[in-house]
């Protein structure tokens, strides 16, 4: 008889859990309400962003406090292409978001990764705010604080503009986003378990030693920055049609704080932690907002609690409980 712990550590078991979760999410729009499906849809977009963010934060040890910048880049790419250039193919939008954000992340990253810790956080915050004021002040280009409308994109070349809005979002667009998330999550899993991912972890734990062992620390941090920027942009580009209107608030520093919050809530030490954090954050926010207008107070309390008592987040608490039940 195998112990529970042995079973949960089996590869087959993990694949089974993932498959069950996958089917659960695929089937969700059929039995859950449209509103729940819509919240899940926004979660998928955030999920892509935070797994990219965690490559930088959890695996490389760099806290970016301006990561919402890339999310906004993705979202505004979608807005520009659909409403200014009438490019409606979602695939083109995604590719454009990746290209634009990668170029931007390459430049910003090259400057930022020269620093670590608080200086890295401050510099990324400054870039995020720079982009915020750019979006706000160049209103003839970006619509200022009103933002820009995002038109409904074609998915895989199909024009779906006849379907009612919510049905589109919770039907085909939901599936589309879920598939993109699955592909990108799998890709990220490959990245973090590759030698490259191991190098990032070595850099996080002991940069001097990593450098000594021949890892080009700065270059690897830069790679991680660019990859996570591209992920955030894809997340933003997918979020844009779901919310229908993009505004500069997407890159305000408190929105970057939200991304860090999600990651920490779920647990940055675990690959799936940010995903758990994202889904809990979005549904909890919806619940608390329906109860009180002062949801920030409650969320601030939760964040303080996590930081002080459970820095491992939800995933950390679960794994420590599992260890305790074994003994």
């Amino acid at each position: 008889m195998r112990t529970w712990r042995e079973i949960t550590s089996l590869r087959k078991f993990r694949i089974l859990v993932l498959a069950v979760a996958g089917f659960f999410l695929l089937g969700l729009p059929f039995w859950a309400s449209q509103f729940v499906s819509y919240l899940m849809l926004t979660f998928f977009a955030y999920a892509i962003t935070v797994i990219g963010f965690n490559l930088l934060f959890g695996y490389t040890g760099l806290l970016s406090f301006g990561h919402a910048l890339f999310m906004a880049v993705g979202a505004y790419t979608a807005a520009f292409l659909t409403s200014k250039f009438s490019v409606l193919y979602m695939e083109i939008i995604l590719v454009a978001a990746v290209i634009v954000s990668s170029i931007l992340a390459a430049v910003i990253g090259a400057i930022c990764v020269r620093y670590i810790k608080i200086y890295f956080a401050m510099l990324t915050l400054a870039f995020g705010m720079l982009f915020y004021t750019f979006l706000l002040k160049f209103y003839y280009l970006t619509g200022g604080d009103e933002g820009m409308r995002v038109l409904r994109p074609y998915l895989l070349g199909f024009n779906l503009s006849d379907i009612p809005k919510m049905q589109f979002l919770t039907g085909s667009y939901y599936l589309y986003t879920l598939v993109v998330l699955a592909i990108l999550a799998f890709l990220m899993w490959k990245i973090v378990s590759s030698p490259f991912g191991l190098c990032l972890r070595a850099i996080r734990d002991n940069p001097e030693k990593a450098e000594y062992l021949g890892v080009s620390v700065r270059k690897y941090r830069w790679y991680a920055f660019v990859i996570s920027g591209a992920y955030a942009a894809i997340g933003g580009a997918l979020l844009a049609p779901a919310i229908g209107q993009v505004d500069p608030g997407l890159t305000y520093w408190t929105h970057s704080g939200t991304l860090v919050f999600m990651t920490l809530l779920g647990g940055f030490e675990n690959f799936f932690g940010p995903l758990i954090g994202g889904v809990v954050y979005i549904f909890l926010q919806d619940k608390v907002m329906s109860l009180t207008a002062y949801w920030r107070f409650i969320f601030g309390g939760i964040l303080a609690f996590i930081v002080v008592v459970a820095p491992g987040g939800i995933a950390g608490v679960i794994s420590s409980l599992a260890k305790r039940s074994k003994c």
């Binding site: 934060f57 620093y115 401050m122 510099l123 400054a126 720079l130 303080a304 930081v307």
Partner: protein, 294 residues
């Protein structure tokens, strides 16, 4: 000539409150090594409490020109919330990674913002132009409200006072020693808990006082703390983290720059500030007056 004078004056006025908040940020960062995002929220709290107190005492029959006395008293007393946050939350993360310290102060920012919304609502609050009771001066054609002049003088006095405390008192020596080498100071018998409580309270008072002083000449909105912390952040980056001289020079630079940009290229107002921040961070990350290594 008069426009230049107007721009300069409003810049210095901006700088005087910015300096107070930035100084609060600096002193806490210097000693505790915690980058306190909540400084801006303390500033907002100071502004709101200031409005309520002044309205109360003026309605209670205090001669209007004396309103500045209860205002300053309110700002100073409100600083006593500092120890509550320090003992209640911040003390748990001194030995943790900077990331967690930053996030904990971010949590405080979220909480205070909602406390303000809960108590005072979301509509902007003003004192109804009470600062005009002191009248205006005309210098070389430029109109200067006397109240703003008083704020600038107050800020200068506080700057001088901080300088005096830091370099001429026993407490100042302890602060400088702790900022330099914490373990060594502790080994020499300095009670760290008390130093931390006092320093954090000092940082809070600078924030709340700054908010209280600035508000008669403006309006309080619930986002003001979040907006100000970004400016204060620019100030400390330009001046150098942990340096008081840096806070002074940085505040002047940001304040004057902001008012120049507003009157010449309003679109570029904040843009110029962030570009300067980034340039400073790239060329000299420790800031103009920061001595610490990066």
């Amino acid at each position: 000539m008069e426009t230049i004078l107007n721009i300069l004056f409003s810049g210095v006025f901006n700088a005087s409150t910015l300096f107070l908040v930035a100084a609060g940020l600096q002193v806490v960062f210097g000693v505790q090594k915690v980058f306190n995002l909540a400084c801006g929220s303390f500033y907002a709290l100071g502004a709101y409490v200031g409005i309520t107190v002044v309205k109360g005492v003026v309605a209670g029959g205090l001669p209007t020109p004396l309103f500045i006395v209860p205002l300053i008293a309110a700002g100073l007393l409100l600083g006593l919330i500092g120890p509550i946050f320090e003992r209640g939350l911040i003390k748990f993360v001194y030995d943790r990674d900077e990331t967690f310290q930053l996030l904990l102060t971010f949590a405080i920012v979220m909480m205070i913002e909602d406390v303000i919304k809960f108590v005072w609502g979301t509509s902007p609050q003003t004192m109804g132009g009470i600062d005009l009771v002191y009248g205006q001066l005309t210098v070389l054609g430029a109109t200067i409200p006397v109240y703003n002049l008083i704020v600038i003088v107050c800020s200068l006095v506080i700057a001088g006072l901080i300088g005096y405390i830091l370099f001429n008192t026993r407490f100042g020596k302890i602060i400088r020693a702790t900022a330099d080498k914490r373990e060594m100071s502790e080994a020499l018998g300095i009670h760290m808990t008390w130093v931390y409580v006092k320093v954090f309270t000092l940082g809070t008072i600078l924030g709340t006082l700054g908010g209280a002083l600035v508000i008669p000449a403006g309006a309080a909105v619930s986002e003001m703390g979040v907006e100000l912390i970004v400016l204060a952040f620019a100030v400390v980056v330009i001046g150098g983290l942990g340096s008081m001289k840096g806070a002074f020079v940085g505040a002047l630079a940001v304040g004057v720059l902001k008012s120049i940009a507003i009157s010449t290229f309003p679109e570029l107002e904040m843009l110029t500030i962030y570009i300067i921040v980034i340039v400073v961070l790239v060329i000299k990350p420790q800031g103009l007056f920061g001595g610490g290594r990066v």
